[in-house]
Symmetry: C2
Subunit: 246 residues, 2 copies
């Protein structure tokens, strides 16, 4: 929840990862230049065509097209208007047409079918989030995991009541009574500090009424597995789906 | 804007079309039985898994999975909660998994890429709406057509201020000042009668501030063409896209 600053940039320079991926736009030009100087590929999320064009102009090597189905925080940074946000099916081809960069699709993709669909839309790769929350390795709470397992009967919504920024979560009392979107939300990331004590009290009583349980719209397609098995399964599944077109 | 009643059912019986497709659920069981007795294939829209299961149980021969990207009225009929609505990427595979019927995908599909993506998600066919509004044959107003051409810079929203039911339109003054969604909207279809005079007055002055210009989230992918050419182009385009997987 801290911005990417001088100290964090030094960590990147020390470890020289192959890829550095940002959310909510990009840090200042000097920090971006230092990241790129390490040889890392620079990636960030776009939720609109305008954001994709901005990221391209700032030197990104690939753009993540984040469709409205995606769980967690919307990467939106040139707009705070949720009406600007579109579904993955609409967003990916429009960003592919706009930029000369590889596009990584995310939002609503949970299995081989979604992967092949994203590739058909022109994406070069995909990014799965919620699908991995079903994996054994996750450290999320049991209540959160139970919510994901019931996702077929649960709703999600994009809400700003938890952090101050729009993020897709399983709907609960806090979101429905105070939002899902409200002009009264504190500026990001202050919301976390303000809502945190309420969440802790409620969770201690076994209630998820005030917990931000990030969740995309395809959680119901998820399966309990391990992260490694999930990757093998969806890769195999994607190849099978591609064979349907041959 | 009239319900499917005795008189309309007689027209179906007289003409015996190959397919009869409903929106907002289905008419009464006796009318459904009469439609099916003509030999017509019965189709309706589902916006959730629960609606798809309902349509299957009522004898539909195929289900249209209407993703949230779609322009025009949401077919929702078992819920009036817009939070239940999901993007095409998430909705299609979940409905495919739930029913034993062919699924027709719609919402955000405007070219061959979207068609192949929908097929990858498990759909058997697709339905395009907004893409055809760009065609020469449409009788929509010049102002509406201009709005579609500018769709890349315009936003859409699901609103109930025009008809009383949630429908995706190009955003305008009426939607932003009174909605996009409001509990004060009159029951469908009364909204049309109430907002109609305001729309007519505004349009006479060259303003689209109060016009319901239905538009999906992929309008920017549309091209001015004819309906016939559009069908040929997207079919050719879809075949080309499929070849990428061979």
């Amino acid at each position: 929840l801290q911005p990417f600053d001088e100290a964090r940039c030094r960590i990147v320079e020390q470890h020289a990862p192959a890829v550095v991926s940002f959310h909510f736009g990009l840090p200042s030009p000097d920090l971006v230049a230092r990241v790129k100087a390490t040889g890392a590929k620079l990636v960030s999320s776009a939720t609109t065509v305008a954001e994709a064009l901005y990221l391209e102009s700032r030197g990104c090597d690939a753009v993540i097209a984040q469709g409205l189905e995606a769980g967690g925080h919307r990467g939106m940074f040139l707009t705070d208007d949720v009406l600007s946000q579109t579904g993955t099916m609409a967003l990916v081809p429009q960003i592919v047409d706009a930029v000369d960069l590889p596009v990584i699709a995310t939002g609503g993709i949970a299995d081989g079918r979604g992967i092949v669909a994203a590739l058909a839309l022109g994406a070069s790769a995909v990014q799965l989030g919620t699908a991995f929350l079903h994996a054994e390795e996750t450290t999320i709470s049991e209540a959160y995991k139970a919510g994901l397992r019931q996702a077929g009967d649960r709703q999600t919504a994009v809400t700003n009541v938890y952090s101050g920024r729009p993020t897709r979560c399983l709907t609960n009392r806090m979101m429905l009574e105070k939002g899902p979107l409200t002009g009264a939300a504190p500026a990001f990331p202050k919301g976390f500090a303000i809502t945190g004590p309420l969440r802790q009290q409620a969770e201690a009583q076994g209630s998820s009424d005030f917990s931000a349980h990030y969740c995309g719209q395809s959680a119901a397609l998820g399966k309990p597995t391990t992260a490694g098995q999930l990757v093998r399964d969806i890769a195999h599944d994607a190849r099978q789906q591609m064979n349907r077109f041959t």
